[in-house]
């Protein structure tokens, strides 16, 4: 009997000690990890807008994050809520119902730092809503202004890849033409599906207009050699093509469909459909949001 007690005590002490140490380490590192993730996200957005590593970010570049939430009240009605930065300091939640009709505008008391952190942002929004309503986070849209003129948008999206979900980001110019595409997270086969992260695949989307995207398909043909050369900026520089020549070749191929990756048609299709859906939904939603803002005469920072 004494044996068993000694054993159990011994095991319990080890477990408790382990759990305590882990709890302490977790508390310390969790915050740092979130900071890292946020920085990675910001870097991706900046590089999509054209200010990647090595290019200095201009002082008058302002990136605004608009958070979209889905709000359900106690009666079961669902509306969308956009958390917007206002022109005069402060933030507001603009509600729009599912058919696009603008609803109430609710001021949200919080500062920018609180809103950047997911859990404190959720708390601030739920506190501003009437009792019984619950807001769930949907996505973050980024709007970029350079010298107070619209530079472009960066929109996140996700699609089901060959193995697991692929998270991507698409950057658009003010006319919603694609200016860049980045793969944020993908667990595809190296050498095959993982090639979606390479320049020669991602840059095929650059320059596609909204109309071209609507009918964009994936074709199983090899990339034309001249197109391949301009898709990778480093290679183009090595060969010695001039900016005019590069522009000419890109213009020649902009109406082409997406050339599938060798041995990774499913991944190529997944990303293409992901880009199409992301842009389509964003354009639709932004249209409704702009209309609602005009109707509500809400002055926003962007």
């Amino acid at each position: 009997m004494k044996e068993i007690v000694k054993i159990v005590l011994s095991l319990t002490t080890v477990c408790v000690a382990a759990a305590l140490i882990l709890g302490a380490v977790f508390a310390k590192t969790d915050h740092l990890r979130k900071v890292n993730e946020e920085k990675l996200r910001e870097d991706t957005i900046q590089s999509l807008l054209g200010y990647g590593t090595g290019v200095k970010k201009p002082g008058d570049l302002k990136i605004f994050d608009v958070y979209r939430y889905v709000i359900t009240d106690d009666k079961g009605t669902t509306v969308l809520g956009y958390l917007l930065p206002l022109k005069e300091k402060g933030f507001a939640l603009a509600e729009i119902d599912l058919s696009g009709k603008p609803g109430k505008v609710i001021p949200v008391t919080a500062n920018a730092a609180q809103l950047a952190e997911p859990s404190s942002r959720d708390a601030a929004i739920n506190a501003a809503l009437p009792k019984g309503s619950k807001a769930t986070y949907a996505e973050t849209l980024s709007i970029a202004n350079l010298r107070d003129k619209r530079l472009g948008y960066v929109v996140p999206g996700s699609t089901q890849g060959f193995k697991e979900a692929i998270k991507l980001m698409v950057s658009l110019d003010p006319d919603f033409n694609v200016t860049g595409m980045a793969i944020v997270e993908a667990k595809e086969d190296p050498g095959l599906g993982a090639e979606i992260q390479q320049d020669y695949f991602r840059n095929q989307f650059v320059g596609k207009t909204v109309d071209l995207l609507k009918s964009l398909k994936v074709i199983k043909e090899p990339l034309p050699t001249d197109y391949l050369e301009v898709l990778e900026p480093a290679k183009a520089k090595k060969i010695g093509l001039t900016q005019d020549q590069i522009r000419e070749i890109k213009q020649k191929h902009v109406k082409d469909d997406i050339y599938a990756l060798t041995g990774a048609t499913i991944s190529s299709r997944a990303v293409t459909n992901g880009v199409k859906d992301t842009v389509r939904k964003f354009v639709y939603r932004l249209d409704i949001l702009t209309g609602a803002l005009k109707q509500d005469k809400l002055q926003v920072a962007f």
Partner: protein
């Protein structure tokens, strides 16, 4: 006395896991299904009015995460018995996503039946499960494609007999621990926000389970224990036994998906072991260069198997 205690504990555990699975399944709402990539079929259960159904304004369809983006419906047709409606869409649907179809003011025989009925449409559960199973067993075979379980793989695959023994034992332990770990993760770790303890909890569960099986088998069926008992202890150091619950936790799989992944992984492992043992038995009587004998040639054979299994990577039925 102690045998009964163990049996009772095991029986309780099994009953509990079934209860959990059952309750999870019972939460299903009305469901519809995809018919081809541009059509959805919904079953009202009772005959509905034709002219009500044909008015597409009475229906709305959207992807679950985007309730504000309605998908334009081209037409709605009823079947002969007027209980099943088929909605046709202009653009192809994304069958790997969840959709919701809402029908408002459902009228039957001229009378208003219900104000609003919601149908949840997603890929058939059975299809998804079969896809998971096939994936775990062949396409993403844990040994040849995901390089897990190699530790045991090379040690036990020398004879057909040991391979089969290990395969059976492993599959049993795998399936049970997959379910138990899923239950622990969903109901204990997530609700208490103790996510980061998952590694300890999973391996702890496996260790306890293996110990329990060891004790039970020893008392209940000594013959089986003599044949398979020695493999039980080795299972704890098998990478796959921890990888499967971790994958289930990461992908947020439900109870049945977790079980199927465990089953597929176990059978895939058994398959790999068996194939390998056949080859290695033949290798014993071949003239292998001295420096290659033993493990080196085994690795190269595994490489050849891995190449062969690569052929399954296009096998996506669903």
């Amino acid at each position: 006395m102690s045998i009964n205690k163990h049996l009772v504990t095991i029986a309780l555990a099994v009953a509990l896991s079934f209860l959990i699975c059952g309750s999870a399944l019972a939460q299903a709402t009305e469901t519809g299904s995809f018919k081809k990539d541009k059509e959805i079929e919904i079953n009202f259960g009772v005959p509905v009015d034709e002219d009500w159904a044909q008015n597409t304004a009475n229906f709305s369809a959207y992807e679950k995460p985007d309730p504000d983006i309605k998908i334009p419906i081209e037409s709605v047709t009823l079947d002969a018995r007027k209980t099943v409606a088929t909605l046709k869409f202009k653009d192809a649907l994304n069958t790997s996503s969840d959709y919701i179809v809402e029908a408002k003011d459902v009228t039957s025989g001229g009378k208003l039946l219900k104000n609003r009925v919601e149908f949840s449409v997603k890929k058939g559960e059975a299809q998804v499960l079969f896809g998971v199973f096939l994936g775990a067993m062949l396409i993403n075979n844990f040994v040849f494609t995901q390089y897990l379980g190699l530790c045991i793989f090379f040690g036990v695959s020398q004879k057909k007999e040991t391979a089969i023994g290990m395969g059976i034992t492993f599959t049993t332990v795998m399936v049970s621990s997959a379910i138990m770990c899923w239950a622990l993760f969903s109901y204990v770790l997530q609700t208490l926000h103790l996510d980061f303890l998952r590694i300890i909890v999973f391996i702890g569960t496996v260790a306890i389970f293996v110990q329990a099986m060891d004790t039970i088998l020893r008392k209940v069926n000594p013959y089986l224990f003599k044949k398979l008992g020695v493999y039980l202890v080795l299972i704890v150091t098998n990478c796959i036994i921890l990888a499967v619950p971790l994958k289930n936790a990461d992908s947020g799989n439900g109870p049945f998906a977790s079980l199927t992944l465990g089953l597929g992984a176990g059978i895939g492992f058994a398959l790999a072991l068996f194939l390998m043992s056949c080859v290695r038995e033949k290798l014993e009587v071949c003239r292998v260069p001295a420096t290659f004998q033993g493990l080196p040639i085994a690795f190269i054979v595994t490489g050849l198997f891995a190449l062969a299994f690569l052929g399954f990577s296009g096998l996506a039925i669903f």
